[in-house]
Assembly symmetry: C2
Homo-oligomer: 759 residues x 2
Amino acid sequence: MYSFCSPALAAVWQANSLYSSQTPDTSGDTFLWIALAVGLLSLIAAVVFARNVLANDAGTPEMRLISDAIREGAEAFMKRQYSAIAMLAVVIAVILYIGYYASAYSRPFANKVVISFIIGAACSALSGYSGMFVSIRANIRVASAARTSIGKALQTALRGGAVTGLVVVSLSLLGIGILFLVFGGLKDPQQAPYQLVGFGFGASLVALFAQLGGGIYTKAADVGADLVGKVEAGIPEDDPRNPAVIADLVGDNVGDCAGRGADIFESTAAENVGAMILGAALYPVFGVKGILFPLVVQAINLVASIIGVTIVHSSETEDPMHALNRGYYVTSLLALAGFAVAVKFMLSGHWWLLGSGICGIITSFLFVRITEYYTETRFRPVRSIADASNTGPATNIITGIAVGMETPALPVLVIGAALLLSYYFGVRGLEDATGISNYAKGIYGTAIATMGMLSSAAYILAMDTFGPITDNAGGIIEMSDQPHAVREKTDRLDAAGNTTKALTKGYAIGSASLAAFLLFSAYLESIHAIVARRVADSGGVLPAGWSFSNVNLASVPVFVGALLGAMLTYLFSSLAIKAVGRAAQFVIEDVRAQFRENPGIMAGTSKPDYGRCVRIVTTAALKQMMVPGLLAVAMPLVVGISFRHLSGLFGVQQLSGVPTLHGLPINLTGAEAVAGLLMVGTISGILLAMFMNNAGGAWDNAKKYIETGAHGGKRSEAHKAAVVGDTVGDPFKDTAGPSLHVLIKLLATVTLVLAPLFV
Amino acid sequence: MYSFCSPALAAVWQANSLYSSQTPDTSGDTFLWIALAVGLLSLIAAVVFARNVLANDAGTPEMRLISDAIREGAEAFMKRQYSAIAMLAVVIAVILYIGYYASAYSRPFANKVVISFIIGAACSALSGYSGMFVSIRANIRVASAARTSIGKALQTALRGGAVTGLVVVSLSLLGIGILFLVFGGLKDPQQAPYQLVGFGFGASLVALFAQLGGGIYTKAADVGADLVGKVEAGIPEDDPRNPAVIADLVGDNVGDCAGRGADIFESTAAENVGAMILGAALYPVFGVKGILFPLVVQAINLVASIIGVTIVHSSETEDPMHALNRGYYVTSLLALAGFAVAVKFMLSGHWWLLGSGICGIITSFLFVRITEYYTETRFRPVRSIADASNTGPATNIITGIAVGMETPALPVLVIGAALLLSYYFGVRGLEDATGISNYAKGIYGTAIATMGMLSSAAYILAMDTFGPITDNAGGIIEMSDQPHAVREKTDRLDAAGNTTKALTKGYAIGSASLAAFLLFSAYLESIHAIVARRVADSGGVLPAGWSFSNVNLASVPVFVGALLGAMLTYLFSSLAIKAVGRAAQFVIEDVRAQFRENPGIMAGTSKPDYGRCVRIVTTAALKQMMVPGLLAVAMPLVVGISFRHLSGLFGVQQLSGVPTLHGLPINLTGAEAVAGLLMVGTISGILLAMFMNNAGGAWDNAKKYIETGAHGGKRSEAHKAAVVGDTVGDPFKDTAGPSLHVLIKLLATVTLVLAPLFV
C-alpha cells in the first residue's frame, strides 16, 4: 500500500501550507543563476542558428514567389489565431481572478496566479511563433541547398528546427525561473512553486488552441486540396494549379511547427511546475536544491541539444535518418552525463535517483522505437495494411484500425515498468531520509524519470520541426519546376521528416504519460495544502495522519467523474475530427468555385487566387477550434463545482478522520470527482491518442510503401485504397491525436489552478 | 466522501466472514420458492412458444433446402464451438480448483466454487444453444408466413425470439436459485452468495467465447461473401451462386442469436450474484428477503415479458417497429408494477428504493432512444454520414468515426445521473436503518437500479433474436426466387430487425455500465471478507474502522493496473477485428477457388459447395477466438499475482491501520492493482464498445438510407462509398463491440472468483 497516510509527510505539508518561517536554505541559489544563464545563452544560440540558416542562399525568384506566399499565409493565420487566443486568455484571466478573489482563502494568491497565467500564455505563444518564424524562412533555404548538396540541406533544416527547440525549452526555463525569483522563491522556496500553477495553465491554454487551430487548419487544407485536386481534377499533389496548394503548405507550418512547439512547451512547463511542487515536499531532504533540480535539468537539456544539433553532418548518400539519429544519441548521452553531475551536486549523490533518470531516458528511447515499429514500412504493421489494400479501401481501413488499436499495448507496458521502477529507485535512493513517507520518495523518483525523459526535448523538437521544413522545401521544389534529381533529394529529406514527425508524436505522448502521474500528485498535494491552510486558519488541527489521497474509484462521485473524463476524450476527438471535415468543406467549395470562375487555371494560363483559399481556411479553422477548446476548459470546472454542491444531496457522511471546519466535515466531493475525471481522462486520452497517431502514421506509410512499387505501385487499385486510408488517418494523426496530448496536460494544469474552487 | 470506512459495516462484514451462527431468517423462503416456480413455468412457456412457432407452415421445398443448409451449418458450428469451449472450461476448472486448493483459507470453498463454475458454464451454453435451436427453425416459418401476412410473420419471428429470451433468463434464475438452496442458502443466507461467484464466472467464460467465436464467424462470412461476391464477381447479396452465402446466413444465427443470448445470460447472472452479495451486507435490515430480491425481480421480468410478447399483433400496413415497441412498453409497465409489489412485500415498502428501480427502467428507455438517434436514418448522425459519402469513402469513414466518438457523451451523462440518483434514493430509502453505512445503502440503491434496468431483459432479448430470424427469412425468400411483393415484406421485417439489433446493443452496454459499479463493490466486499477471515483465523482482530476500499488511483500499482485494464480493451478489440480479417481471408480464397474450379457456378448451371465454405469459416473462427479470449482471462490473473509478489520490491509500507497477519501487514498490492484494472478497464470498455457499436450501426444505416434513393441511390458513387463504411462497421458492431460487453463482465466475474488468489 502506497498512500499519503504518513503522518510525517502530512507534517511537511502542514509546514508548507502554514508559510514556514524558518530561515530559508540558500545553498542552491547558485544553481538557479546557472540555469537562468544557460537559458539566456540558449536563446542567443537560437538567434545564432537562425542567422546561420537565414544567411543561406534564398533560391531562384520562382522559388521565392512560392515561399513568400507560404510565409504570408502562415503569418496571417498566426496573427489572427493569436489575436483570438489572446482575447480568450484575457477572458479566462478575468474569470480566474474572480474565482480566486471570491474566497478569502485564495484571495492572497489571486494576483500571483493571474500574473503567472499571463506570462505562461505569452511565453507559450512566443515559442510557437518564433519557431514558425524561422521555419517558414528555412524552407526555401533548404530547397535551395538541395540543388547542390543534400548534406547541406539536411543541416539547414535541422538548424532551422533547432531554433524552435531551443526557444521553447529556454523560454519555459526562463519564465519559470524568473517567476520563482520574483515570487520570493529564494526566501520562501517551499511556497513559491504553488504560485507557479498559473504558468502551467497559461502555457496549456495557448497550446491547446494553437494545436487545435493549427491541426484543423493543416488537415482541412490537406484533405480539401487532395479531394478536389487529386480526386476530382486529377492533378498531382503540390500542383501549382491547385488553389489550395499554398494553404496546404502553410498548414504544415502552423499545424506541425507551431502546434508541436506549443505542445512541448506545455509539457516542460507543466512538468517543471509539478516537479517543483513535489520538490517542495522533499525540502527537509534536499532543501532548495530539490526544488530547483528540474530547472537545472532543463539547462542540461539545452546544452546537450545544442551540441547534438551542431555535430549532425551527413554525406550525400547516407540515409538522412542515420544522421539525425546520431545527433539524438549524442544528445541523450550528454544529457545522461549532465544528469549524473546534477545528481552528484544537487541530490547529494543519491545514485538510485540517477537510476530513475535513466528509466526516463530509456523510456524515451523505447517509445521512439515502438513508434518506429508501428509506422515504418520495414515492419509488419505497415506491410499488413499495404497487403490489405489489395482487397480495397474497406480492408485497408479495418486493418489500419486494428493496427492502431494494437499500438497502445507495448507503450503501456513500458510506461508501467518505468513508473514502477523509478518509484522503486526513488524509495531506495531516499532510504536514509527520515520523516518522509515512502510514497513521497517514490513519487519523486517518478518525477525524476519524467525529467530524464524530457532531458532531450530540445533536440527532439528540432527533429520534429525538421519535418514541416523539409515538406515545404519539397513543395517549393515541385512547384518551381526544378530538375528531377533535386526533387529526389528533397523526397529523401521529406521521407525522413515524415518519420521524425511520427517519432516525436510517440515521444510527446510518452512524456505526457510519464508526467501524468507527477501532475496527479501535484493536484492532490495542492488540495491537501488548501485544506490544511483552511483548517489552520480556522484554529483547528488536521486529524492525525489524515491526508487528501483517497481518489477512490469505488466512490460514486469519483466513478462518475472518471466516466465523464473518459467521455471527454472521445467527445473532444469527435469534435476535432468533425471540425476538420467542416473546414475542409469550405476549401473544397472554394477550389471548385475557382476552377469554375477561371478556366485558365486548369489550362495553366493563369494563376489561382491562393490567398483567398488561405483566408477561407483561416476563418474556418479558428471558428471550429472554439467548441472543443472551451469544452476542455469548462468540463473540469463544471464537474468540480457542481459535484461540490451536489454533495449536499447525498448527505456528506460524518467519517471519523475527515478534517472539520467549524465542526462540519470539509466537503471534498468536488475535489474527488475532479481527481477521477483527471486521472481516468488522462488514461483514456493517452490510449486514444496512441491509437489515432499510430493508425494515422501507419496508413500514411502504407500508401508510401505502395508508391515505392509494392502491390502494383502508384496506378494500382491497392494504391487507391491506400489513399483512402491515408486521408482517414490525416485528421487522426495531425488533428485529434496531437490535440489529445495537449488536452491531457491541460486537464492537469486546469485542475491544479482551479483547485481552490473545488473545496 | 462515500467510503466503506464505517465501523458498523465493517462489523457486518466481519460477521459474514466468520460464518455467523445466529438463527437464520426464514421469512423470505416463500419468495425463493415462488421465483423458482416462475422460472420453471417460464421454461414451459418457452417450450409452448417453440411448439407454436414450429407448428407453422415450413414453406416450399426450395425454401426448405436453403433453411436445412443453414440449420446444418449452424449446428455443425455450435457443436464444434461448444466442444472447444467445454475443453477450455475443464482446463480452467482444474486451474481454479488448484488455485483454491493451494491456500488453506480458500480450500473449504474449492468444491463449491468449481461446481458452481461448471453449472454456470453449462447453463450459459444451454441458453445459447436452445435459442439458436429455435431461431434456425423459425426463419423458414417466418419466410413462409411472409408469403401471406406480414403480421403473422412478425408474430412468428418475435415468438421464436422469445424462446431465447425466456430460456436465458429462466436458466439464470433457476441455476442461481437452486445453487443457493443447495449451498445451504436458507440456513446460512449471508454466506451462500459468496459461493455463487463461480456461477457468474462460468457464465462469463462461455459467453465470451460464444460471442467472440460467433462474432468472428458471422463477420468473416459476411465480409468474405461481400468482397468476392459483390465486389469481385458483381453478384447481389444473398445470391445463391455465392458459395459463402449459406455461411453468411449461418453467421447471423451463431453470432447474433447465440452470442447475444450468452451475453445477456452473463449480465443477469453476474448482476444476480453481485446483488446477492450486496444484499448479504444489508442482512440486518431486510434479512434473507434482501438477498432474494434480485431473483424475484427476474421472475417478474419473465412474467412481464411473456405477456409483452403475447400481446404483440401487427396489421399489414403498420411499421413493424411500432408493434414491437408496444410490446416493450407493456413489458416495462408490467415490470414496474411488479417491482412496486416486490418492494412492498420484500423491502418493507421502502418506496425510495422503488425510485432506484425506476431510475433503472428510465435508463434502459433512454439508452434505447439514444441508440436510435445515432443509428436511425431519420436523424442527423446517419444523414451526415450519407452526405459525406458524396465525397467518397474517406469522408464517409471520417464522418462515421466522428459520429461514433460522439456517441458515448449522452449515455455517459445518463449513466452518471442514474448512478447518482439511485445512490441517493438508496441512502434516503434506508435512512432509518441503523448500523449500516450510507455507502452500503447507496450502493444497494444502484444495485436496485440495475435490477430495474434488467427487468425487461427477456423481452429485449426476444426483440434482439427477432433480428437474425427475419434476416434469415429474407435470405431464404431471396434465394428461393419468391415474388417481389413477398421480398418487400421480409425487407420491412429485416429493417425492423436491424433496428432491434442496434437497440439491444445499446441496452446491453447500458446494463453492463450500470452493473459495473455493483460488481466493483462485490469485488471489494469479497476481498474484505477474505482479509477479515484470515485475520480472525490467525487470532487477530481487524483494526477499528478498517475496510478494503482504497482503490486509490494515485497509488502507482493501481494506476499501472488501470493503464493495463484500459490497454486490454484496445488490444482485445484489435485482436477481435484482426481475427475477422484473417478468417475472412480463408472465405475469400475458398470462394475464388470454387469459382475457378467450377465455372458452372457463375453460369447458374451447378450449385456451389456451401458446406465446404461453412467448414472453413468454422475452423478459422474457432482458431481465431482463442488468443483474445485467453488474454482476457489471463490478464487479471497475471496482474493480480505478479503485483502481489512485486510488492516486496517496493517494501510494503507499515501504515497505521492496515490489518496485520502474524505481525506483518497484509499485502494488498495485488488486490488493489486488479481493482484498478477492473474499474478503468470497464470504463474504457464501455466507451470503446459504444463507439464501435454505434459507428457500425450508423454506417450500416447510412448505406441503407442511400439505397432508398438518397444521394443518387444504389448505383451512385455515394453508395459505393457507403458500402465501404458498412464493411468497416461490420467487425465493429458485430464482433469487437459486442465482445467488449462480454469482456467487461468477464473481468468482473474473473476478479471476483480469483479474489482469494490476490491476497
